[in-house]
């Protein structure tokens, strides 16, 4: 049975729940979401302000059949598996969770990394409380996100991962979650991460596969509609790194939403490298007093790619901190959209927030749109935001060249330097190296003779004569 994404039905959901042996409360949730789904329309880029920058109908094909099984289950070479430490690993291939392993030492400490459908039975309290808690507004799964792509996940997610780190447990190695595409179609991965008080967790969410963008695979298309919920417990520290390393024609929608409780710290890094269209919404609700979040982004867009990044931070509780920093480079005919939002609600006194986006246009033809928004309903806060888009700085380039460094190498140093500010904020095993290796390959593939350099007039202000 193949069901196009557009034609979600009760029968489809029932078949899925039967196959996964899901409890009735989860079936009810899915049914409630389906009801909302049927009442909603797909995003309309003419009318929906959050979709204004990226044409939904053109970039996302909702007619592709939903993939419910796993294709090629070989383990891709990812970040987590490249590490020299024993890590918990969950692997989603297409429509199925094919592996969930946890080192014995972590099992003993109560760490859970398992199939989400099964967890709905074995860890019913936790999953029932938190699954959908950031996408819907009540326990029955009604109300909530107005975006049909999110409702669709609530109703029909196929392969899910549940991660739980109990109170006072500090993981010293990352938990890896691989989302790997080997069959074209619609993929509906779902992740729920819950951490207890005073715990510490690092999660690497890796996206790969999708075929090859050129040649014989050119017609295959994959749509990934993903929802990740992260519940950061009191005084818990969670780092989530989301790597978009798609190799081919993948259109990726991802809501990655966290709620940070009292004194908790949440750091998020989105690395956008692969895929034809990636629209990522890294959102954070700062619900507990003194919570903090650091949403970071690194992106490198080249020919044909479209990256839309929409971090959204809600300051709900007092004295919380947020610092958003996104930096990206563009080359070829590519497009990036940064639409950052910080909302400071009326009780959020003592809020400290900052939001920055910088784009480096390497060659003509690329376009970066950047709009950092700030909406404040509370006095007594500290807020800053800024955005800049520019080319390679001619004065810096000359300085490096004048020391004997050839242009290509000088440009590479400068681009590294540009990204270093972001990567240094998150010193996690393998992340910097892997991201820089991606950047390296992008620079390698770039036509550096076409790199635009700031105007000569900008070169030496006040230095002439």
């Amino acid at each position: 049975m193949t069901t196009p994404f557009d034609d979600l039905s009760e029968d489809f959901l029932a078949a899925r729940s039967d196959a996964a042996g899901e409890p009735s409360w989860l079936r009810d949730r899915r049914a409630a979401a389906l009801k909302r789904f049927l009442d909603q329309a797909w995003p309309d880029s003419r009318n929906d302000e959050y979709w204004r920058s990226t044409p939904f109908a053109k970039r996302f094909d909702v007619g592709l059949p939903i993939v419910t099984e796993a294709g090629d289950t070989a383990t891709p070479a990812g970040l987590t598996t490249s590490l020299d430490v024993a890590t918990a690993l969950a692997r989603i291939v297409d429509g199925e969770l094919v592996e969930a392993t946890v080192p014995a030492a972590l099992v003993e400490r109560g760490v859970v990394v398992m199939d989400l459908s099964a967890a709905a039975e074995t860890h019913a309290d936790l999953v029932r409380t938190h699954l959908g808690s950031l996408t819907t507004s009540d326990d029955e799964g009604t109300g909530g996100d107005e975006d049909r792509t999110i409702t669709a996940s609530d109703a029909a997610w196929t392969a899910g991962v549940f991660v739980y780190v109990p109170d006072d447990v500090e993981l010293d190695a990352p938990v890896g979650i691989q989302v790997h595409a080997t069959s074209p179609g619609t993929h509906l991965p779902r992740v729920l991460i819950v951490t207890g008080r005073h715990s510490r967790a690092v999660v690497y969410l890796e996206h790969s596969g999708g075929g090859i963008a050129d040649g014989e695979d050119a017609d295959r298309k994959t749509l990934v509609d993903e929802v990740v919920e992260v519940v950061v417990g009191e005084s818990s520290a969670v780092d989530l790194v989301s790597l978009q390393e798609w190799s081919g024609h993948v259109a990726h929608l991802s809501l990655q939403k966290a709620a940070v409780h009292r004194g908790g710290t949440y750091r998020h890094l989105a690395v956008n490298i692969g895929g034809t269209t990636v629209r990522i919404r890294p959102e954070v609700d700062l619900v507990g007093e003194g919570a903090s979040c650091f949403p970071l982004g690194v992106y490198f867009a080249d020919e044909g790619q479209w990256f839309d990044m929409q971090p959204y931070i809600r300051h709900i509780a007092p004295r919380a901190t947020s610092d958003v920093l996104y930096k990206g480079a563009l080359q070829g005919k590519s497009r990036t959209v940064f639409r950052g939002n910080v909302l400071v609600e009326k009780d959020a006194v003592g809020t400290d927030t900052n939001e920055t986006n910088r784009s480096l246009i390497l060659t003509d033809g690329a376009r970066a749109d950047s709009t950092p928004f700030l909406e404040i309903h509370c006095a007594d806060i500290t807020a800053g935001h800024g955005s800049a888009t520019g080319q390679i700085d001619a004065r810096q380039l000359f300085y490096l060249e004048a020391r004997g460094i050839p242009r290509e190498q000088a440009l590479r140093l400068m681009v590294y330097g540009f990204f270093r500010e972001v990567l240094e904020k998150l010193d996690l095993p393998g992340v910097q190296e892997r991201t820089l290796a991606h950047i390296d390959r992008e620079i390698e593939a770039a036509d550096l003779s076409r790199v635009g350099v700031g105007r000569i007039a900008d070169v030496a202000p006040g230095e002439v004569a």
């Binding site: 300085y399 004048a402 020391r403 050839p406 400068m414």
Partner: protein, 248 residues
Amino acid sequence: MADLEIRDLTVEVQGEEILSGVTLDLDKGKTLALMGPNGSGKSTLAYAIAGHPAYTVTGGSIRFKGDDIAEWTPDERARAGVFLAMQYPVEVPGVSVTNFLRTAVNARRGEELPVRQFMTELKEQMADLHVDQAFLQRSVNEGFSGGEKKRFEILQMAMLTPELAVLDETDSGLDVDALKTVAEGVDRLRGPDLGVLIITHYTRILRYIKPDEVHVMLDGRIVKSGGPELADELEEGGYEEIATVARA
């Protein structure tokens, strides 16, 4: 033929002629001072030698070790042994001092220097120039004080072992102590394999680095040349006297 041989050099910046026929010889082992008031074209000559893209050579030649380098890219000139200590060193965010220096040194020497050997050399030079080791982790020139920037220029000069060093107003903006450190650093690097062109408005740096010749530039031309005593005359009479004579 001199190691650096500049003949009838004319240079334009944004369509405006700044140098109007400069001729100058500099041999390795020698130190020349090029003096002149603001706007006389001293820095333009420095940038033209280094190959700055905003400075267009419209006539004449710059020969270095026998090659006409006027069409060479800045990195080619630097690898051949030209070094420009800049008046306004540029901040390069995110690029660490260590990484920058190592890349530059490898480019200049044409081989990958083993890291340990590079670090040993670097630390020796840093000690000589009183540069704090904490610099190594910082981004190039970012947040450096005026004096730190100038000392870092001289540190680069020491590591890159140029055959021609052009010091563009290296003395500007330095207090007496900072000037002394920088000047002593340069003095220590002088020797039979290095020609030095000191570009300055003031005579005070010449108290620490004795030049073999002094040339005075005015309106894009060299109008007077002499020995070290010429600097003393300028100290006394300033540029006004020379200007009056030259423009008459």
